[in-house]
Subunit: 327 residues, 5 copies
């Protein structure tokens, strides 16, 4: 699917393009900014794009294959940027990272991605609305693009943070539920998501660092502090991700101690109960012996005395174990 | 709430401002230093401030939203600093980090924050008292400001350190209390607070490093060693935080070993008690059998002999287990 | 085994060489690119190669001995590169890393290795096919060589990642299988393979970083972005390896908690079952006593009442322990 | 307490000073080196010192308050150094770190500390003895000072290392003593001392690095390799401290495994003993039944056969469990 | 013990020296290379050496005391290098690191060490054999020296690696042997040896890095790639040591999980056996009761029926527990 927009700088008007064949007339026109978005393009469409804009085969190859690292690469006639959009799938809670490949130049921004990116309309709106920044060139468009993508990371990270804190909160209140196994596995899953996030966030921070400090002929100078603003956001994300990655290890350790402590409690219960019941059983055992001469057996209240003795021992031992806090 | 003060450099007098509308007359006056503090400003007040002092929209946006990273950013006509005040809530013991956004220039210091900051009066006092340093410009005011904020971190860190050491001390004295679970969770909570502190302290150290080594046109040269003094304080804080973050992991490991050791003790008690009681129970079991020919049963003192045998076995086994230190 | 190919630049033709003695005529011929591959060469063959191309004894020594670190070294008249090919053995799943030593110069590429490398034919094909890049020199040949080797790491890493995730998935579903021991040992084995990979991947990334940023007289300028492409791939590999090396530690910790939790469950079962059975045993014990006066014994339905009592206690205790979730 | 010494460079004589009021005559005299040591000075004495030598208020403030970080700071007219003396208290084994603040200049060395430092006499002796190095200036005095302080760290670190190794040695020999709890807590205490040492040693290494590589107008060039010698010593200290900090974590892990293994042993003992005793108890239970027709009961040797059977089962089971190594 | 050799560059002959007094005639002779090795020298011999070659007292002091860090230090008239020889003691398996102090200059190499170093003869042989490299100066002698020492690390590291892998292999095959304690302690010992190795290998790599990149007036340029060759070897050593130091922590964790899993197994056995035996014991208990009316007791085959019932319950429960894999 192709969605193209070109902007006539002089007239400050925006027009849409729906066919790759229209592109050739705009690409070297200094009065025009062009944004072409290709969703799930065929190999032929990408090849056509490559020929039209003289894109280097290595960059085209990266745009064709999924799972590139976030990066910015300078080519003779354009910059190539790989960035990721992030969101959590509503149903499964799975972390969904969608790759976007960007070709960028004084005149155009070409974006290529497999799966639909929901922010695209908003980005377009932001671009067409800020007419007074049009003469800042394609940099302001790239800024709108990356800023919107990075803003979408915050709800994702916040949701993961919430899940982490919820699990930790349960650690404090659950008692005797044997949930340590589930807790450990949930922590493991969360840690993996933080690691996956870190893997795209850290190189994306590097991209924005490059954009912030780069003296480029294709961007207006005033755009640098805008990229610094995104850099700031993504650094905050990276800090959060690192903090929770670190904290989750300690939470796992605490969870193990909780499991160990629960076992201690169970074993104390068992020890106390066994001792009481075995002591109780000893007495009837004694009076079940068949010796001819056991004086107590003839005593009329012997049986009741034994029952009371057993009751007394039971209560006494319970008191002792209570004091030791074994119950 | 607005609290403004302007200083007439020539006359060395201080005057207060209570209305944002008064600001326009001072802002470009070289004979005046201006400090405006906005607590919980409305969007309109911030916008007015922005227009008055030509603050860049990106900086204003950061001042509007909470949870920025501590940072220092240079704009064309001002510096923008994000810093955090820290204190522990008296009742809950929660770590309270309050963001302050600072706009700084040769002529003015503008501070914006959501929640009340208690140090403000003290800072103002320090500023109006040191009249002889007035010609050092707004730098000395920024120094007073940051120095007071950083000094407030020490009681916070000391309290956390005290809590940590108290928990560790309990590890050494508690015995058989099954507190390992609580200990683990307390350690986890503390570790999280240290991590949260680290997250603001480390970038704030970077801010002060920048201020110490920066050749700025807006600060007097002599101010640099003052910022170095704060840098020194905050480095000390960062060291303490890192030391305890590291140490807390080991304390957690030690706590787990304590839990494991306690379990060993319980199991030894149980093993010893079970063996004694089962051995004891075996004998009455034997003499409870209904064989026609069990010679001992006819012996007049058989019953008493058995009781003594049981007592003897019990004492003997207790001695053995005592020697093995199983009791 | 020797497999040589020389390319006549002017005529754009390729010819094969099968004897080391033919080499002397090509080595200083500016019109010729030479690629000689020696598999499992004798010491004499290597010495001959050394004399023919004036290879430094230290480089020759490294080519003779196995287990060099991946590296690139500049000598007066050539570059020396050590690189590794990777694959997993189909049957045992063992990680197989095969060292390749490369001597490189404007005129020639000499590759030396002990064991067969399957990619060689494909590499040769890529070289002889891209005739239009011939004037880029031996750099394009080195590129083809390294690119093919690095591409082969992806299926290896993917297989290890799959194995890791499979083990993790089992953690979530296995119950009461006592597989924690096997899981721990499998995780240990996998972690070792990731470490072994990391040990070659990290220095190989350094090699490609050198090649990407190096201003070399022997490579055409345009080749640098090709090396950058391989650098990008190998960085992705290094990221994956590091992520799983980190994650595997947490998986091990989670596995330990699973083991601990399973133990808790077993002990709860045991405690509950012991208490029920001991309580049940106490009652027949009581009515097995030989007191002359035990009124119940004479009651006609005493025996059945006792059986019901035991049944009732059993059911009651089961209900209690169910509620406590000890069963 | 004040202890001052001044050295007349020309006459190569040393004279002592006992009153702060004498200082004014020496401070700007180029023919004199001055060393003033203040132990536990009053605020007034420090203020007097500050006025006399024009010490910056920030440095004076650091000298007034305890617990500064080790550091070196350059002021206009002097260097300010914070360093720590270390020793272990003989009775409690507590690590005692004593802060020393040093003001340094071409003409003088001023040392300020709260608690007595035992090395001072030795340092003075070293200084007054090496008359031929007098013209090297105050640098040789600073060298003597720091070298003596650093040399005192070695017995401290050696003692901690000895304690660590002693605990580890006990791990190998102790058996069934349930000392894992104590071991864990001792390791924790030691680790904390290593961390505390590290916290002063690492920044002190930085101080000596600065002194080694600094081109200072106040030191003779030849002194640099002397500071390098101390740098070398303190790097060795830092290496040792880091090695043991790392190793102690593993020792803790090993200690936990020892605890776990001990538990395994106890449980095996318990399992084996329980099975033997319960099997033994089953047989008398059977012959305690009241069935009218139990043929064995009438056999004359039935009772003795049962006793032999029980003995046989006991021995047989013991043999089995021995073979399984459960005893 | 002194062992000296001097080489007459012009005549390319080697002569031995056996007395320190002979040295004065050679030390400033440009036609001569001198190598003096002092084993376990007296203080007087070292002092004499110091006077003869004008060695700086700080370097002499380092040569006098043991346990220096590996380092290279430049003095006015010579380089001072501290290096370690490594081997494993054949009997105890202890890691033996022997310090060698080297004074180096255009004209001489002086080596000082406490304990005998076995490689010395081989080093001398390598030097006297390569006559054609004599005009490269003392650098080629230093190269021979360090190369031989570093080559000796490989069998040491290989032996430690073998021991590590052997322990890991046993983890996979041992079952029910309760060897986790011994395994943990062996892993701890090995980890300590790797740490000790790392402590000398890492700074020695720095020494060789300095030698590789140093433009020195005393070495011929061509020697640099020789030092790079040693640098390469020692980097490989450092990589191996780091890999196993990392891996050993995971092996320890796996070992703990094995211990935990073994405990699970024991407890399952115990739980299953207890339940079976207690259930079995319940039935004879019931028929041991003295109720007057227990119909079964009068049944002729009651006793046998009960025995069959017990056998049936036993078999049934064994089948159930087998299915649950508790046996
Ligand atoms: Mg792509
Ligand atoms: Mg993806
Ligand atoms: Mg944003
Ligand atoms: Mg924004
Ligand atoms: Mg912002
Ligand atoms: Mg941990
Ligand atoms: Mg804000
Ligand atoms: Mg906040
Ligand atoms: Mg302060
Ligand atoms: Mg202060
Ligand atoms: Mg200070
Ligand atoms: Mg740990
Ligand atoms: Mg090789
Ligand atoms: Mg290999
Ligand atoms: Mg590739
Ligand atoms: Mg490719
Ligand atoms: Mg690519
Ligand atoms: Mg771990
Ligand atoms: Mg862990
Ligand atoms: Mg002080
Ligand atoms: Mg202190
Ligand atoms: Mg010293
Ligand atoms: Mg010394
Ligand atoms: Mg020294
Ligand atoms: Mg640990
Ligand atoms: Mg020495
Ligand atoms: Mg040594
Ligand atoms: Mg070698
Ligand atoms: Mg060699
Ligand atoms: Mg080599
Ligand atoms: Mg560990």
């Amino acid at each position: 699917m192709i969605r193209g927009t070109y902007c006539d700088k002089k007239q400050q008007t925006f027009h849409s393009i729906t066919d790759l064949n229209e592109l050739s007339q705009f690409k070297d026109n200094d009065d025009i900014f062009l944004w072409v978005d290709l969703q799930d393009p065929t190999k032929e469409e990408l090849a056509k794009l490559g020929v039209e804009f003289q894109l280097h085969p290595l960059a085209l190859e990266d745009a064709t294959h999924e799972h590139q690292r976030p990066k910015i690469e300078e080519y003779d006639n354009f910059y190539f940027v790989v960035f990721y959009a992030a969101h959590l799938e509503a149903e499964t809670g799975e972390l969904d990272l969608r790759e976007i490949d960007i070709f960028l130049n004084k005149h155009y921004l070409l974006t290529v991605h497999e799966k639909p990116i929901e922010d695209l309309k908003e980005i377009q709106l932001r671009w067409t609305r800020n007419v007074q920044q049009l003469h800042w060139g394609t940099g302001i468009l790239l800024y709108s693009f990356l800023d919107t993508l990075v803003d979408d990371y915050f709800p994702v990270v916040d949701a993961l943070v919430d899940q982490t804190e919820e699990i930790e909160d349960q650690l404090y209140i659950q008692r005797g539920q044997l949930r340590e196994r589930d807790t450990a596995l949930k922590l493991l899953t969360l840690r993996k998501k933080f690691l996956a996030l870190r893997r795209v966030v850290t190189p994306q921070r590097d991209i924005l660092n490059v954009l912030t400090n780069h003296d480029s002929s294709i961007f207006d100078e005033r755009i640098n502090i805008y990229f610094r603003d995104i850099y700031d956001h993504i650094t905050r994300l990276a800090d959060t991700v690192d903090l929770y990655r670190d904290q989750l290890s300690s939470t796992m350790d605490a969870n193990l101690t909780v499991a160990s402590n629960e076992l201690n409690k169970v074993m104390r219960t068992m020890t106390a109960a066994s001792i009481i019941l075995m002591v109780d059983a000893l007495i009837p055992g004694i009076y079940g012996m068949n010796f001819e001469n056991i004086p107590e057996l003839k005593w009329e209240y012997g049986y009741f005395a034994v029952l009371f003795l057993m009751l007394g021992l039971t209560i006494g031992l319970i008191v002792v174990f209570r004091r030791l806090r074994w119950f």
